[in-house]
């Protein structure tokens, strides 16, 4: 076997691309969970974003409009979840599952005529001098803009949560909704907005899959990426910067597995392609077995229904 065929520059570059959709979806879900809501429908929102983004990009000829379409699609479908859980006080676990099942169905339906088309793409960012640096240039500094937007979004979320009053309020609502209500904060409104933000991010993540990563539309193309995003939020202990680490870790596993397949490593393609899912399980076990650490940062009201009785 010839491992020298693995080019570290190409590996690092494709790792960043593989990590981006998961990172986008996960940072949205992190905000949602910080507000005390567990939305298990990330997979459904991602696939709707993927199809909406794809169709908009193909019809308008612009990948940027595609992103806009994906964001709107994600917001729209997450608003169903928000309405069910915040206004009609439905069970969050069941509503999230419903969102995923519905999203998979609806995306397949509207994407019916779009299989096999190539979508318009993004131009890569070209920073004079920097992008020409050896190794770092091609590996890290010459991607499409979304890769950097993803990282920027994580930084912005960190700033919002830890440095602004509204971020503090959002954390407070997630920590103890009864106390936040008693202080006069609008729990439902805040959570509703967080859910829509989560929908937007998941939609963008989905669009990145269908417009850049793959790039084409196929039914069920998210293949569990939304669920992995959920796992990454747990892995990151609800901390934005650890989330980048988590996304790159999974990006790395995916890329490694694909490259080993390409090299024809003798353990069977089927077994290699299980790797991302098995790694997710192993990481979840490692994080959750450390009971003190995993529960320390979990929002206190996560998944609980809020009703301002009396």
């Amino acid at each position: 076997m010839d491992f020298s065929a693995l080019n570290p520059v190409a590996l690092l570059a494709s790792l960043m691309i593989a990590a981006t959709p998961i990172m986008l979806a996960a940072i949205g879900e992190l905000v949602v969970e910080k507000s005390g809501v567990l939305n298990l429908g990330v997979e459904g929102m991602m696939i709707v974003g993927a199809v909406c983004g794809f169709i908009t990009a193909v019809e308008t000829g612009s990948a940027w409009f595609g992103l806009l379409g994906a964001a709107l699609g994600g917001i729209l479908i997450s608003s169903i979840f928000a309405f069910l859980t915040q206004v009609l006080l439905a069970n969050q676990v069941a509503s999230g599952l419903a969102l995923t099942l519905f999203g998979l169905g609806v995306s397949a339906m509207i994407g019916n005529g779009y299989t096999g088309i190539k979508p318009p793409g993004f131009n890569t960012v070209n920073i004079p001098l920097l992008s020409d640096l050896p190794f770092i240039g091609p590996a890290i500094l010459s991607h499409d803009p979304i890769v950097y937007i993803g990282i920027l979004l994580v930084i912005l979320v960190w700033y919002f949560l830890n440095k602004t009053k509204n971020g503090l309020v959002l954390r407070a609502v997630g920590e103890n909704h009864d106390a936040a209500h008693a202080l006069g904060y609008k729990v439902i409104w805040i959570r509703f907005s967080a859910i829509l933000f989560g929908g937007m991010c998941a939609g963008l993540g989905g669009a990145y899959l269908s417009l850049v990563r793959v790039p084409q539309w196929t039914e069920g193309m998210t293949a569990g990426a939304g669920w992995i995003a959920l796992a990454i939020v747990v892995f990151a202990s609800w901390k934005p910067f650890r989330l980048i680490l988590g996304a790159y870790l999974f990006g790395g596993v995916t890329i490694m597995q694909l490259n080993l397949q390409a090299l024809g490593v003798d353990i069977g393609i089927a077994y290699l392609s299980m790797a991302p899912y098995l790694v997710t399980i192993i990481v979840l076990v490692m994080i959750s077995s450390n009971h003190l650490r995993s529960s320390a940062n979990a929002p206190g009201s996560l998944g609980r229904i809020f009703h301002a009785s009396q």
């Binding site: 106390a179 936040a180 006069g184 003190l292």
Partner: protein, 507 residues
């Protein structure tokens, strides 16, 4: 205190389905007075203060603040008018720091650094020491209350509402609180002080308004009025004082020997070196401030948490390592503190809730595992009858019962199984006086038939009234056992604070 009225409450009414919480309530709070709002659990005090704080909108009636119409739509309105509130169940966020918690209660907080120094200034000025960078979850109940008070003081309130502020404090902490309140009063702040404890009110309040069944049944000067009269106004009927006759034998019913327990989870308290003997027919009181290990001790004694075999002995059996159902069969029964969600399940009916704990000792499940629902129903009806549980029938969800009725059901369910040892945590917490009195009598009667009882409580008066012997619990350790007779509240206060002659620390 002046004669200028600060807040006039005029004919406020509020009803919920099936309950009238407030009916035509009228009274006036003057500038710079400490005004008590006195009443039993369920008298409508909470609804009224929530109305003043903008959390509840009244169906009818007016409020005037400084002569102007006052109708807050939300707490923010109330705060901007100078009304601040310290909640009974603190509205604090455990995973946030003291400074962040305080910032959340302010309209436009300064930066966290500037706020922290402000907090330090105020905390020194009012004798409320606190570290602004600490996580609220790591503070004691008394310290958490300080956070709430400082949060209010930073807004320079004209009216400070305090809902049952002493219920979680040690006698020493109560003294500190009262001196803070007196200082505020001297500075011209009015305080609306909600409580059901007559003693507290007599020591610091200038005026008392008494609520019963949602109505204002009188306003008086609590220092001048006869205690019995106030109690009568508050309760409306004369409460039977429980009768006690001691029947302690020499036989040891329960023995705890060198119990050490380390929690898995940081939210629980470690227990250290606990040893005591409980005699047949004895009522032992365990007193302490909330969160000092009472819940953990209850769960370890009941068998929800297992320990070493030899640490707990029930008569001739070592039971430290056997589960709750086997302990029930041997005669050890428990009524935990949290009624809804631990002792009973709110969404299930009373019959199902009977089966929850009575299934082993009352043989409500056949050998095949089939539940005998008929027998369960009969036992439930018996509980309802013997303990006067006010409910339309046995098929009503436990959560729809009032606190007092549910507690009568929970206590009745265990007592009627004839326990040899009965452990009860906070038997009358949040229960109306009539129900509390019948629960107390039931516990005394149980002991007089030879059962041994442990009462774990934060209500020191209750412990003085019911128990033969007393132990204090503090930071997961327990004091020596002493005779309750002759103990004063002050001595107990020292003991539950963890100091005094009855402590032998094992370090």
């Amino acid at each position: 205190m002046s004669n200028i009225s600060l807040l006039e409450i005029d004919g406020v009414s509020k009803s919920y389905p099936g309950v009238i919480a407030n009916e035509n309530v009228k009274f006036t709070i003057k500038t710079g007075e400490i005004h008590a709002l006195l009443g039993e659990n369920g008298a409508g005090k909470s609804t009224l203060v929530k109305t003043i704080y903008g959390l509840v909108k009244p169906d009818k009636g007016l409020m005037k603040l400084n002569g102007n119409l006052y109708s807050p739509n939300e707490p923010r309105d109330a705060r901007s008018c100078g009304v601040a509130m310290v909640f009974q169940h603190f509205s604090l966020f455990n995973a946030l720091t003291v400074a962040e918690n305080i910032a959340l209660g302010m309209e436009s907080p300064p930066s966290i650094d500037r706020l922290s120094s402000k907090i330090e200034t105020i905390s020194i000025e009012y004798g409320l020491p606190i570290n602004p960078e600490k996580m609220v979850g790591s503070l004691s109940a008394g310290e958490q209350q300080r956070v709430e008070i400082i949060r209010c003081l930073l807004q320079n309130p004209k009216l400070l509402i305090m809902d049952e502020p002493t219920s979680v404090l040690t006698p020493n902490e109560i003294k500190t609180l009262f001196s803070t309140l007196k200082k505020l009063k001297r500075e011209g702040t009015s305080i609306l002080y909600i409580s059901h404890k007559l003693e507290d009110i007599r020591s610091i309040c200038d005026t008392a308004t008494i609520l019963r069944g949602g109505k204002n049944v009188g306003t008086c000067d609590p220092k001048k009025e006869n205690v019995r009269n106030i109690a009568k106004m508050m309760i409306g009927e004369t409460i039977k004082i429980p009768k006690k006759k001691s029947t302690i034998s020499k036989l040891i019913a329960l023995e705890v020997d060198c119990l050490n327990w380390v929690p898995r989870d940081s939210s629980q308290k470690q227990l250290k070196n606990i040893s005591f003997k409980l005699l047949k027919g004895e009522i032992l009181g365990i007193g302490g401030v909330a969160g000092n290990g009472q819940d953990e001790l209850t769960d370890i004694l009941s068998g929800e948490i297992l320990s070493n075999k030899s640490t707990i002995r029930l008569f001739d059996n070592s039971i430290g390592d056997i589960g709750i159902n086997k302990r029930r069969l041997l005669g050890l029964l428990t009524a935990p503190e949290e009624r809804l969600g631990h002792a009973a399940i709110p969404d299930m009916d009373l019959i199902e809730n009977t089966n929850l704990t009575a299934h082993t000792r009352e043989k409500l499940v056949k050998k095949s595992g089939i539940i005998d629902w008929k027998k369960t129903q009969e036992f439930t009806k018996n509980i309802i009858k013997e303990f006067d549980v006010r409910t339309p029938n046995a098929k009503v969800a436990a959560g729809s019962l009032s606190g007092g009725n549910l507690q009568k059901f929970v206590i009745g369910r265990e007592v009627l199984q004839k326990p040899l040892v009965f452990i009860v945590n906070q038997p009358t917490w949040g229960v109306d006086a009539a129900a509390a009195s019948s629960i107390k009598q039931a516990i005394l009667d149980l002991a007089s038939t030879g059962s041994a009882v442990i009462i774990i409580s934060q209500d020191l008066d209750e412990l003085l009234e019911l128990t033969d012997n007393f132990m204090a619990i503090n930071s997961g350790e327990m004091s020596q056992k002493i005779n309750t007779q002759g103990l004063t509240v002050d001595e107990i206060g020292l003991m539950i604070g963890g100091t005094g002659a009855y402590w032998k620390r094992h370090d």
